[in-house]
Amino acid sequence: MNTDNQTLLRVENLVKHFPIYRGVIRRKVGAVRAVDDVSFEIKQGETLGLVGESGCGKTTTGRTILRLYEPTSGHVYFKGQDLAHLKPEEMRKARKDIQIIFQDPYASLNPRMTVREIIGEPMLAFGIASGKEIDDRVAELLDLVSLDHNYASRYPHEFSGGQRQRIGVARALAMKPSFIVCDEPISALDVSIQAQIVNLLEDLQRELNLTYLFIAHDLSMVRHISDRVAVMYLGIIVELANRKDVYVNPLHPYTQALLSSIPVADPQFYEEHQRIVLEGDVPSPANPPSGCRFRTRCPIADEHCAEVQPALREITPGHFVACLKVTPIDDQEEVIN
């Protein structure tokens, strides 16, 4: 899908900490380190999949990029602007081009507004259309997401989950953005509806030349839709590579275990494969382990892993891994010698 190799979005050292207030006078005693120094870039027209378990910071990453949460530090360069440091009004204007689709189609639509108002609101906000124009554009958008445009005067509660998610997509498309954060857009939907939405997103990407950050915990769906995939664990990216590299040749032990845990709809598979089952739970992001954050569950960790926090390094071209045990081929030789 990479028609253009230009970088559209570059995230540099993004950090988002949520302070924890405890004690008698509610002073700050620490922070949930939801996103802890994350860097990646997304090229024009591609889809970057962001996967990880709940609490790994993937949703926070998406929302911090959009400044729905104020970043603690770091930069988000989008078309040359650093979104993280824009003034509020500049940021508001920048939202024209960068949009989000939410996970819960029930919570993300204002129950007191009609479909027309919901989808038309961004146009009103930017004052680019009025009255009849908005109606026409809403109808056009509804057609685009395969909803009957006669539905425009209805309220969200009259729709099913899948239909509501289509309304959410239409709202995101209203200002013709070039970049959309898809924040677990299918995980609240039934299996038979998920495919409809994924197909819709793919069709739209092709027709409108969109760029996606696709956040999900469903690894097989991410594999299906993404060009490149980033795997997050406890607020950091542990592996980032082409879809194929991640799924066929995963290098980080966490990625390997995660892939191995995916349920496969094929009983034959389970007779032929032995799964890697990780022990224990994900530690609290308020108090992550020292050194490598994965070491407490890692099958190959040693003492060294507790001391050094591994950086995300390029192992083979385009394949980044944050693990002390995985070293680039050149370095490996040095280690052996």
């Binding site: 405890r22 004690g23 008698v24 006078i25």
Partner: protein, 357 residues
């Protein structure tokens, strides 16, 4: 939990300061002559005396200066040259009640035990019966008991206490003198004045039991039963409603189904699993209902002519004796701050999520 309790304790001075500020703010609406009752017994009669009082007690000083003086009082040498203190609510001097011709603190000392006597007999039936009815109504949702409880709770919350009290008086006193208004019969008060009757707690009903005088206990009860019913029915009504809705919500919870799936008896499912959880919101409401109770005594004691602090407040208010009534209010506020603290700490003990945090 230590943190929680410390936080809760730290709130006490804040509440105290707030309550005293509100009340002192009201006091400031009065003229200096009325306010002088905070410090002196005698009513200043002429201009000269008024000016002297204003000067001595700084009744025209800035607000916070006066507030501080109100809290700690005024030190002055008396005729013998000893240093004495006038006023100062922190020292328990709430001022002088000119309508009752005694110190406000003495009114409290005399009357509060009577109110407490009433309140104790009200709170325990209120909690047990109200909660029992609410749980039973929820378990039998939409059946007869539930409908009856709901109708009761609507009528209960709609019936004004003073109308209810007057009706009780009409039926149980004016008609046949089964129960009596007031505090005690004359022969009991004579007995108390004679000193034959030992007052251990100053709560008449309890003292009667401690003296093993069932006749006096019965007399106390005859006087208290109508106010108790009047104070109770409205709190029952609210407790039934809150317990019922909390219980209904709890009965829909997954862990109730888990409990059933373990094969527990329905009674155990309700008593061991649903009810303890349903009690959490009820406990949070308890603090509020104690506030309501102490408000309720103002009316109830007035209706039944029962000499507690509620009646004292109502009498003072009717005669516009503001210093007295504000002194009583400070005291009531103090009681409520303490009882709310107790309820909050109790809550921490019931809910492990708070206790173990």
């Amino acid at each position: 939990m230590t943190n929680y309790i410390i936080r809760r304790l730290l709130l006490v001075p804040v509440l105290l300061a707030g309550v005293t500020l509100i009340i002192f703010g009201m006091l400031q609406l009065l003229g200096p002559v009325e306010r002088s009752a905070l410090y002196v017994v005698d009513f200043p009669k002429n201009e000269k005396q008024i000016d002297a009082v204003i000067k001595r007690y700084g009744l025209d000083d800035p607000f916070f200066v006066q507030y501080w003086r109100w809290l700690v009082g005024v030190q002055r040498p008396d005729t013998q040259g000893n240093i004495v203190r006038d006023g100062g609510i922190l020292y328990g001097d709430f001022g002088y009640s000119r309508t009752a011709s005694q110190e406000v603190i003495d009114i409290i000392k005399n009357r509060f035990p009577n109110t407490l006597d009433l309140a104790l007999w009200t709170i325990f039936p209120m909690l047990s019966v109200g909660i029992w009815m609410g749980v039973k109504a929820a378990v039998n949702q939409n059946k007869f008991f539930d409908q009856a409880a709901r109708i009761y709770s609507i009528i209960g919350t709609s019936f004004p206490t003073f109308v209810f009290g007057l009706l009780l008086l009409m039926l149980l006193y004016a008609n046949n003198q089964w129960f009596l208004p007031g505090k005690m019969s004359d022969w009991v008060s004579i007995l108390i004045y004679s000193g034959e009757f030992k007052q251990y707690t100053h709560l008449l009903s309890i003292d009667a039991l401690l003296n093993l005088r069932l006749d006096i206990f019965w007399d106390a009860l005859r006087h208290m039963i109508m106010p108790i019913i009047t104070l109770s029915y409205i709190s029952w009504a609210t407790f039934v409603r809150v317990t019922r809705s909390s219980m209904l919500e709890t009965l829909r919870m997954d862990y109730v189904i888990t409990a059933r799936s373990k094969g527990l008896k329905e009674a155990d499912v309700i008593n061991k699993h649903a009810r303890p959880n349903a009690m959490l919101p009820v406990v949070t409401m308890m603090g509020g209902s104690i506030v309501g109770l102490l408000g309720g005594v103002v009316i109830t004691e007035t209706v039944f002519n029962y000499p507690g602090i509620g009646k004292a407040a109502a009498d003072a208010a009717a005669q516009l004796d503001v210093v007295t009534i504000l002194g009583l209010a400070i005291f009531t506020g103090l009681i409520l701050i303490i009882s709310n603290l107790v309820v909050d700490i109790l809550y921490a003990f019931i809910d492990p999520r708070v206790r173990l945090s």
